[in-house]
Subunit: 160 residues, 2 copies
Amino acid sequence: MKIKNSRLEAIRLILSTKGIGSQEELLNELAREGFKLTQATLSRDLHQLRVVKSVGANGSYSYVLPRSERYRHGGTDGDVLPVSQEIDTTGYRSIRFSENIAVIHTTPSYAGTLAYKIDNCDFPEIIGTIAGDDTIMLVMAEGVNRTAVLRALKTIIPGI
Amino acid sequence: MKIKNSRLEAIRLILSTKGIGSQEELLNELAREGFKLTQATLSRDLHQLRVVKSVGANGSYSYVLPRSERYRHGGTDGDVLPVSQEIDTTGYRSIRFSENIAVIHTTPSYAGTLAYKIDNCDFPEIIGTIAGDDTIMLVMAEGVNRTAVLRALKTIIPGI
DNA sequence: ATAATAAAGGAATAAATATGCAATCATGAA
DNA sequence: TTCATGATTGCATATTTATTCCTTTATTAT
């Protein structure tokens, strides 16, 4: 189904950017983006995405996508494959935000290459990066939101 | 309290060993080992240990400990905070904070190793690090205070 | 030791989440 | 097309998990 896949995509995007503490909360976010569904369906979606409700550093709950089992949506059939089973040229593993910094984790040794690619794109949303061996620190431009950064990165990391 | 700590220890051991799918199930396992408690208390214990209910490969649910709380042998008393083995080969020299960034200075050449250790602990308070030769830049999670970061780091840098 | 304060735990319940069932919709074969 | 099959979903509900309120137990300061 077309709708379901784009919904799963929306869920992944939302969970990557905002801190969501309950399915109801996520339901509202989805409604805001035009998705109409019930908690039952959302529960099933989250189960399929293997999302877990974890306890943050501050003690509150938040839903997180497991980086070991990232899914991407297939364009044709409804089947989804874990990214880990694909040939991955970027080395991308996960991204997290804190204030105006994004931290990208990669396969060991891939961080430099990926950061170089990002720099080369001259995204206005991103003012610079520093890479270690498996980690990139990325500084966001002022006033830019995280969704915009993800959208930009998507052009070079399709599976993000 | 004595009982609580040994119970938390038991929980960690059980979760490291068996596949547990619900709190009630875990409650039974604990009863089998002589721990008498209610689901309410167990819920609180699991929250403290940051245990998450995740979705296994077979689609069924199972409780898992975060890496930073996985079971290891050794320390028995006091806090549940994990202990590292190494005897101050960290090279740690100093730490300073600015906003959501911490900068750690080390003995020359030690930064990479220390950063690697920090990353491996998967502290929820820390979303990533990058190391140079004698400097580590560390990005704190949002909403986390510096004391919490120091407390986390203390588990691998006792002298911090 | 005693009072004050904090931590721990149970019972009941609220809140959150998963699921059985039936209806709907799509897809493909005959 | 028509039938069979499988996927998707909502509704209602079962199940599970978190929390509120209150009592008990430990810890600290005086």
